[in-house]
Subunit: 238 residues, 2 copies
Amino acid sequence: MSTVRSDITGSLEDYLETIYRILGRSSVARVRDIAEEMQVNPASVTPAMKRLSAKQLIKYSKRNYIELTEKGLFIARRTMTRHNLLSRFLTEVLGISREQAECDACAMEHFLSESSMERLAAFFEFLAASPELQALIDTGFGNCPEGKEELELLPLTDLEPGSSRRIARINAGQKIRGQLIDSGFIQGAIITLTRPGGTDLPFIVDLDGYDQELPGEIAECVLLHPVQEQTGEDDYEK
Amino acid sequence: MSTVRSDITGSLEDYLETIYRILGRSSVARVRDIAEEMQVNPASVTPAMKRLSAKQLIKYSKRNYIELTEKGLFIARRTMTRHNLLSRFLTEVLGISREQAECDACAMEHFLSESSMERLAAFFEFLAASPELQALIDTGFGNCPEGKEELELLPLTDLEPGSSRRIARINAGQKIRGQLIDSGFIQGAIITLTRPGGTDLPFIVDLDGYDQELPGEIAECVLLHPVQEQTGEDDYEK
DNA sequence: TCTATTTGTTAGATTTGTCTAACAGAAATA
DNA sequence: TATTTCTGTTAGACAAATCTAACAAATAGA
Ligand SMILES: [Mn+2]
Ligand SMILES: [Mn+2]
Ligand SMILES: [Mn+2]
Ligand SMILES: [Mn+2]
């Protein structure tokens, strides 16, 4: 009892979670059901059950139904709770599709620490208790939130060489936006203009200590906060 | 170029990310540096470099400095961007400590899909553009957010047998709160009171299709939304 | 230049997690 | 009851990721 520190791999947590889910609907859990639910070969389930059994997380004897022990039930529930918290965050807050959210959540759930889990739960409590926040998020933030200081934002192309700004947002379609984000152009990152470009000459900027080239038409999608920043190392907290 | 679909394990992504980080500060990357940065034995680095090299993600020849290829650089940057997004969410929004956030983020980063990544980036843009939201979050939500409808919340102990409610929040100290959350008692989950308890008799509630026992003093920490819910399966969207 | 230290690689082992193919036991059906 | 089908296990293979111990190459120091 007491501190049931997991000490168990993500895969085994998934097996426990699956067993828990199956037992939640159909009084018994069989190798077959588990294999089907997890999209895995039944021959992979047997050794997994042996590993779980060795760790005293399930009651398992050859060719018999599988039951969770007290410890196994605890881990199964906790894993599922993490799954639900992450999945809800992805769907309800970020607006990701159900399927994608399930997939991301089930992969990330194994790495959310106890404290992060607790805070994420608190976040939902806060959200539910604060209608104004709920409303803000429910509107769904598009690619271009209509901030009031919109006019003050500075396109990267207008930045003076050598000066540093924080990125405010990326104003571009799906594809270019995706490319820029992949490359690290996210809100809050600090950019220094190393060399301005032109119609044919790409801009060179410093981001995370790496120089990156940006063609003019892409650079103008990067909108910066108007306030000049210190040229310190990449450092997100003020 | 085009779609550089990762097709690479989390461990290899970490190696790329580490190489990227090292090259950001010290012109060359050696096996030694990588091993040190990743807290791993140098003998583990060599085979990893071979795997990366086979996948054309680094330029590597025995006993030589390691360089990222175009593809490797792309994945490294994207991994680091995910890392930063998650880390910032954990610290800036949830209020997790730096170290814990780094740890969680570096583990989860490998499983955040392209779309979730894009939406998380949009979330930060939205946050930066909306001072009221920023302010709400900056206050830091404690364990007990002061909602206005506080008085209307119903302790689990006052619920009528057989009726169902959504959990609004858990009103308890660290320890009990943690236990309840681990067991799935999070905001939005639907609870049905199966059997009311008393001073010595634990309450029995249905949550996720499983019956759970709760001693009275724990049950009264579970505060419910006042509106009655359908007794459907666990189903988070209305 | 010769030796000592640092750095990197190899060999060999281990754990985890997956697969296919073959087999064995149980249940259903004829 | 005999046979077929379903279900579960085993055997054997493989890839990834790590380790320790031993060795080899390169560099630095004397
Ligand atoms: Mn999972
Ligand atoms: Mn899951
Ligand atoms: Mn990582
Ligand atoms: Mn990372």
